[in-house]
């Protein structure tokens, strides 16, 4: 309770009007975004508008049966999350109630009027102090650590408390409520802190990102990379593979912590995540992926106001881990549902609508949210990052709608999903012509150093071929492929190889689901190798039909599915070499 100032507590007012998730109370002296308890059942709500005597409240639970005249109590606190050991592997609803605890308390269906703290207050954690008596500590500094899963949970001095000299610090097993450290200023520190979700946690400095977030997805890492601390949007019509892409990122991105927000999405999909993640292994640590993951699941039929809050709950948890010095990636699926929750609440408030009924503050809310991403120097001087990847679900797949447009104005990476591609089962169905990454320049040096000095050149080459193919396809549509000049017939074939071998990736294949940078480089290089041979042979007089139909080339796609692909790749390259040479000698 260090951060949320206590205002006058225990004020009671009276309900005046109930219309869906928005209720009006009178005789209550609340502040904006105060948490209030509504009705005899004490449903949780939040103040979203104050008008004369009337206080307008959005309620996080179903309001059926609530009557005018029932009491409303102001807690005087802002909507805050509990931060401390126990976050990892948790599954929360939009207002940080652990879903497993809710099952125990109220059965298989979500009932209302049940509160549950975000963290287990009874569980004891082994606390190892990292400072000693007499050390000076300030907000954001690490005072100790807890081995939470395979991740070390660093215990921080909360921002905004008064720092000072450590008077006493304990070692041993404690709950998150017990005081582990006392400062000479009188401040008592526990392993838990609270933070209001709508306020970004403070940092020393924001920096420009220079390292890519490696995701193991070829089209992302290879062509349109996102930086650690960067922002990306994946818009796409339904069925184009947004959720699969988001889940692939949650599984394989090389962040240390993953926060996954299922915001207004399908219940069965969350179940899939819940059953799959504990079984999957982190390719780096070999531990279950779940151990580095925090899940927030507010499905489409759970209360709409809690959906609005879920995104803030998620990003606050992400920032907390960033403050420990971790690289965190946050997936929000889908930000459109979040925007729709805003629209629904706004229309119940009878606010003047902006474009397509969305509130006029849509753009501001979106940019505030994405701006909470970034590579930062934390208060304690470490580097940490939050990368945000937001799915967008444009109605009818039309990218000109407000949520997509306002998102694109903010994010640096755009992965455009394409229903046409998914219909022909080209996955990931990311359109290579419309997508872009604005991080290419800042990541250039990293690829030079860590992958190969050739990589950036190869990438530009591949993009050129794909661009050229698009132009040629227009001609083919008019006159047929036989009418193309010979060299361009080859270009079409090479582009097809880039698409089918490099860009297509099978998320359900045990090997192909994750492809590291060196394999990506080898694959692209093999395609370029064939292209060089092919053009040379064509100039030497071999017909494109012969070059295209060489046998060994058909084996190339198979290396995607082979773990130790190198010997096979070498064999294929050698036989491609010799086949083309034979063709040339007979030409």
């Amino acid at each position: 309770m260090e951060v949320t100032e206590k205002k006058e507590k225990g004020q009671e007012g009276v309900l005046k009007r109930i219309a869906g998730p928005v209720v009006t109370a009178v005789n209550i002296d609340a502040h904006m975004y105060d948490v209030v308890k509504v009705g005899h059942e004490e449903l949780m709500g939040e103040v979203i508008k104050i008008q004369g005597d009337e206080t307008i409240i959005q309620v996080y639970e179903d309001t059926s049966g609530i009557r005018p005249g029932e009491p409303v109590t102001n807690t005087g606190l802002s909507l805050a999350v509990e931060l401390g050991p126990g976050l990892l592997t948790s599954i929360y609803d939009g207002i940080q109630r652990p879903l497993s605890v809710l099952v125990d308390k109220m059965g298989d269906f979500i009932q209302r009027g049940v509160s549950a703290p975000g963290l287990d207050h009874q569980k004891k954690w082994e606390f190892r102090p990292l400072v000693k008596e007499g050390d000076k500590v300030s907000p954001g500094m690490v005072i100790g650590e807890v081995q939470e899963t395979n991740i070390v949970h660093r215990i921080l001095v909360p921002p905004k408390v008064q720092g000072g000299v450590v008077k006493s610090i304990k070692r041993g097993s404690f709950t998150i409520e017990e005081v582990v450290c006392t400062l000479d200023s009188g401040t008592e520190l526990t392993m838990m802190q609270k933070w209001p979700v709508r306020v970004p946690r403070p940092v020393t400095e924001k920096m420009n990102p220079t390292i890519p977030l490696i995701t193991g997805q070829r089209i992302l890492d290879g062509l349109f990379p996102i930086a650690k601390g960067g922002t990306a949007a994946i818009p796409g019509p339904f069925g184009s593979g947004k959720t699969v892409t988001q889940q692939q990122l949650a599984k394989w991105s090389d962040a240390e912590i993953v926060v996954y927000i299922g915001c207004g999405e399908r219940g069965n999909e969350m179940t899939e995540v819940l059953t799959e993640f504990p079984e999957l292994e982190d390719p780096k640590s070999g531990k279950p992926l779940m151990e580095r993951t925090v899940l927030i699941a507010n499905t489409s039929n759970m209360p709409v106001a809690a959906r609005e809050a879920s995104v803030y709950t998620g990003i606050t948890i992400a920032e907390y881990f960033r403050d420990m010095g971790y690289d965190v990636s946050l997936m929000a699926d889908s930000t459109s549902r979040w925007a729709e929750a805003m629209r629904e609440i706004s229309s119940r408030l009878e606010e003047m609508p902006g474009e397509e009924g969305y509130p006029a503050y849509l753009a501001a809310r979106l940019s505030e949210f994405y701006e909470r991403a970034g590579l930062v120097r934390t208060l304690s001087g470490k580097n940490g990052s939050v990368s945000v990847i937001g799915a967008v679900s444009p109605p009818g797949g039309d990218f000109s709608e407000p949520v997509t447009q306002n998102t694109l104005r903010i994010v640096k990476v755009f992965w455009a999903l394409d229903a046409k591609l998914s219909q022909r089962r080209h996955f990931p169905a990311i359109n290579w012509l419309n997508s872009y990454s604005l991080y290419l320049d800042s990541l250039h040096d990293w690829y030079d150093k860590e992958v190969s000095p050739e990589w950036n050149v190869l990438r530009s080459w591949a993009m050129e071929v794909l661009q050229k193919e698009a132009e040629l396809q227009e001609i083919v549509q008019l006159v047929g492929s036989d009418a193309l000049p010979e060299a361009e017939q080859l270009t079409i074939e090479i582009a097809r190889m880039i698409r089918e071998i490099f860009l297509q990736q099978n998320a359900y294949d045990a090997v192909d689901t994750f492809c590291d940078m060196s394999k990506q480089y080898d694959m692209m290089k093999a395609i370029k190798g064939y292209a060089d041979l092919a053009y040379a042979a064509q100039t030497a007089g071999v017909s494109p039909a012969q070059i295209i139909t060489i046998k060994s080339k058909n084996d190339l796609p198979q290396i995607k599915f082979i773990k130790d692909y190198k010997p096979e790749l070498e064999r294929i390259q050698k036989s491609m070499d010799s086949e083309i040479n034979t063709l040339r000698s007979t030409a």
Binding site: R17, D62, R67, F109, G262, G267, T271, E272, E344, N554
Partner: protein, 463 residues
Amino acid sequence: MKEYRTISKIAGPLVFVEKTEPVGYNELVNIALWDGTIKRGQVLDTSDSLVVVQVFETTAGIGKDSGVRFLGETIKMPVGKEMLGRILSGGGKPIDGGPEIVPEKRLDITGAAINPYARASPEEFIQTGISTIDGTNTLVRGQKLPIFSGAGLPHNNIALQIARQSKVLGSKESFAVVFAAMGITKEEANHFMQDFERTGALERAVVFLNLADDPAVERIITPRLALTTAEYLAFDLDMHVLVILTDMTNYCEALRQIGAAREEVPGRRGYPGYMYTDLAGIYERAGIIKGKKGSITQFPILTMPGDDITHPIPDLTGYITEGQIVVSRELHRKGIYPPINVLPSLSRLMNLGIGKEHTREDHKKVSDQLYAAYAEGNDLRGLVAIVGKDALSERDRMFLEFADLFENRFVRQGYDEDRTIFETLDGGWNLLATLPVEQLVRIDRDLINKYHPKFRQGAKAQE
């Protein structure tokens, strides 16, 4: 219970009542007319000065002299074992001449959301006997898979065929069917009823009928009554329930009607901004719960206005459901039944229910290959229209022919033809065998050697 005669305004399906005692939100309301008829409604907005009531039937006959009673509870549905075999109105009253339902329980019709943590992952393959569903858009128990259709297309027959043929491999138990009709014509309803009777399905069915001439607003509660019944059958009585909701387009129209009457700020095309949340409240009531034997599988049917898949109704539905089966006018015109266009169709849960443990190891790859080849052939049709068949390369011609074969052999089947999944997959292989083996890039060598007709026969000959 106090009766108020303080109606101040009546607009469309809405009745405004003044000076009441505190009334609960969503509470059930009875309005008594001068001749004694009772109309039912629900509280949409409540404050100390004014209560807005949405009436489920027509407001004809309601006047300032009508008496309003607030029943002090939200709408409940009486449910019991004897519901199987019964026909009820869209408001839940028996209309088959039989006795009233003896309730074993009275359940809130809004239904609470299933806690995602309590859900079990759906993974049991349902064989519908239709190749385009089983083979390429596989349905699993606990899934919600809508049929996107258009006016005049045979979606009802497809739904009936699915209801009739659906089974889980290796299990003898059949599905209980909960059928909710919203605003369909009497003729359509008869078609369903006759088929249910013909096949004996009626004994295991609960039917809710809100027909085209029944009050539109009643449609708002019909699917909720049906799903409440389904939840009772599935989670209290351990049954596997198939819910057919038709036509969701009429439901959404009713939703728009109420929104307009309340003078709400409309969203896209006049539909209310909360339509996504509202539809989710219906569609999300499908699934399986850990530790319970039963399941709810949903088949909502909707007709896309103007065959437009980007219209808000199919659009929002597609974002909530786990895929969609798209019925195509073009295939229907070609005389192909069932005219399911696999290209825009999708089953999101397919991968959970197929493969070695559920169907056969080659299922996924065969399906992907069929899709890719058909998509390619279909694209070429556009090209042929411009440049003519002769300008195509030989490879292209093969794919073009493949597309025709696919429609005629794989898509086309009889109304009573019940194909096993193995027949479907082998049929797929036979089609793929018309293409050169090196074009089958989506299938690994091992599977080709094992299942491709050419090699399979070779293998047999060797034996």
